[in-house]
């Protein structure tokens, strides 16, 4: 891929980064404001750090010097996708933004938000199968069809695909681990089964990319990128797997242990 000029207009790049920073400022304000309310539990600052790192990471993958470099190097492209589609969504999910929002909103508005979360459409998208198909299926479309070449020629496609990778990654994460309120939860077993297939599909796609390098990039570079996808995906998913089983462990605590925790 050869581009003499910058792919993204500088104004758009600044806008994307500013958008992320204003989100971080918004989260920070809500945190300070709700921490002044006595009846509410203290909201820890590390959650804000998680939100800040997640959102800024996502913005810097889409815009900025890293994004420009990733246009010419498949390894960077893949590293960017791991950050945008896996690590940033995980950090944001762990920062519990919906819980913070519900704390900050007046009761009637908060009720409206929870009503939206319970809506059948929200339920459909939060289903682990839907989320996995959108997430991993999207990647298959990107790498196993000419979409990948087209993305580097059309700005709107580039933005749309990156937004999808991020949103689908977030959806997948919150369909597997429930940090924020999760109406209509799926059982741990069901989430585990779907997750196994999603992780397997991710690994298989990495090996297919390895076996049939994409045109436009040096084959060695693509193979290194494919291995990065395979092992990087494993690493982030391992964290989600641990969190998923930890929630099973907590949910199945025997009764006498509950009493011990409550009385201490």
């Amino acid at each position: 891929m050869h581009h003499e000029q910058q792919f993204l207009p500088p104004a758009l790049q600044v806008l994307i980064v500013l958008f992320a920073l204003s989100g971080a400022a918004g989260y920070f304000t809500l945190m300070l404001r709700t921490n002044r309310v006595r009846r509410l539990k203290h909201w820890p600052a590390w959650r804000w750090i998680l939100w800040l790192s997640g959102t800024v990471m996502a913005a810097l993958v889409i815009a900025g010097p890293f994004a420009e470099a990733a246009h010419h190097d498949f390894r960077l492209h893949m590293a960017g996708h791991l950050l945008l589609g896996m690590l940033a969504p995980l950090l944001i999910a762990l920062s519990a933004p919906v819980t913070l929002l519900l704390r900050a909103l007046p009761v009637t508005a908060a009720r409206r938000v929870t009503k939206m979360l319970r809506h059948p459409v929200a339920r459909f998208y939060r289903n682990p199968i839907t989320a996995s198909v959108l997430n991993i299926g999207g990647l298959w479309l990107l790498y196993a069809t000419p979409l990948f070449q087209l993305m580097h020629q059309h700005l709107w496609l580039y933005l749309l695909i990156h937004l999808h990778v991020f949103a689908a990654g977030y959806l997948f994460t919150i369909s597997m681990i429930y940090i924020d309120p999760a109406p209509h939860p799926s059982s741990h077993l069901f989430r585990t089964l779907v997750f196994i297939f999603a992780l397997a599909a991710h690994g298989i796609l990495s090996k297919i990319i390895y076996a049939e390098p994409l045109p436009g990039f040096p084959p060695d570079e693509v193979r290194e990128g494919a291995m990065l996808m395979y092992y990087g995906g494993d690493l982030v998913d391992l964290v989600i797997i641990i969190l998923l089983f930890r929630s099973w462990y907590r949910a199945t605590a025997p009764r006498h242990l509950y009493q011990k925790i409550e009385s201490s």
Partner: protein, 163 residues
């Protein structure tokens, strides 16, 4: 609250499955770290891999992560219930680990040709050691499980117990 004696005998299946899952995950982990990463004997991808091999490898690789983490959380669960049973767990661990190694060494390496143990060498001794070790692990695991079950019958008088 006093802890009832022989809690572990009430969790026979859970101990066994914790072992099987952890054993499978552990062998897959050893395979990845030693043979892929440290020795570089195994290839990330082998051109002769069949499509079914690619799918099987992908599923087992994904499953091994869940088995490792899930197996360890089952152990933690047994521990907090004072029901961890070393003999049954080890029996399961050897059975699960050996079972996966045998599947990997025969079906995945040979039939699906996902990759060989090592390249540019006479592969027969490697295959023999790999699969014979697996069979020994399976037999040892089954013997341990049988012996553990006998301990249980000895204590509880042979009544059948829920997992």
């Amino acid at each position: 609250m006093p802890i009832p004696a022989h809690q572990k005998y009430h969790h026979q299946k859970k101990n066994l499955w914790a072992g099987i899952l952890f054993g499978l995950g552990f062998v897959a982990f050893i395979d990845e770290t030693i043979f892929h990463q440290l020795l570089h004997w195994h290839k990330f991808y082998d051109r002769s891999t069949t499509s079914i091999g690619l799918i099987s490898d992908g599923l087992f690789h994904a499953f091994s992560w869940f088995a490792t983490v899930g197996g360890l959380y089952l152990v933690a669960d047994l521990m907090r219930r004072h029901a961890f049973w070393h003999k049954m767990f080890w029996g399961g661990k050897l059975l699960g680990g050996g079972g996966f190694q045998l599947f990997d060494g025969t079906i995945q390496h040979k039939l699906m040709r996902i990759h060989q143990i090592r390249y540019n060498v006479d592969i027969l001794p490697y295959d023999l050691i790999w699969n014979i070790t697996a069979v020994i692990m399976i037999i040892a695991g089954l013997l341990l499980i049988r012996s553990a079950k006998k301990d249980n019958i000895g204590v509880s008088g042979g009544e059948t117990l829920a997992s």
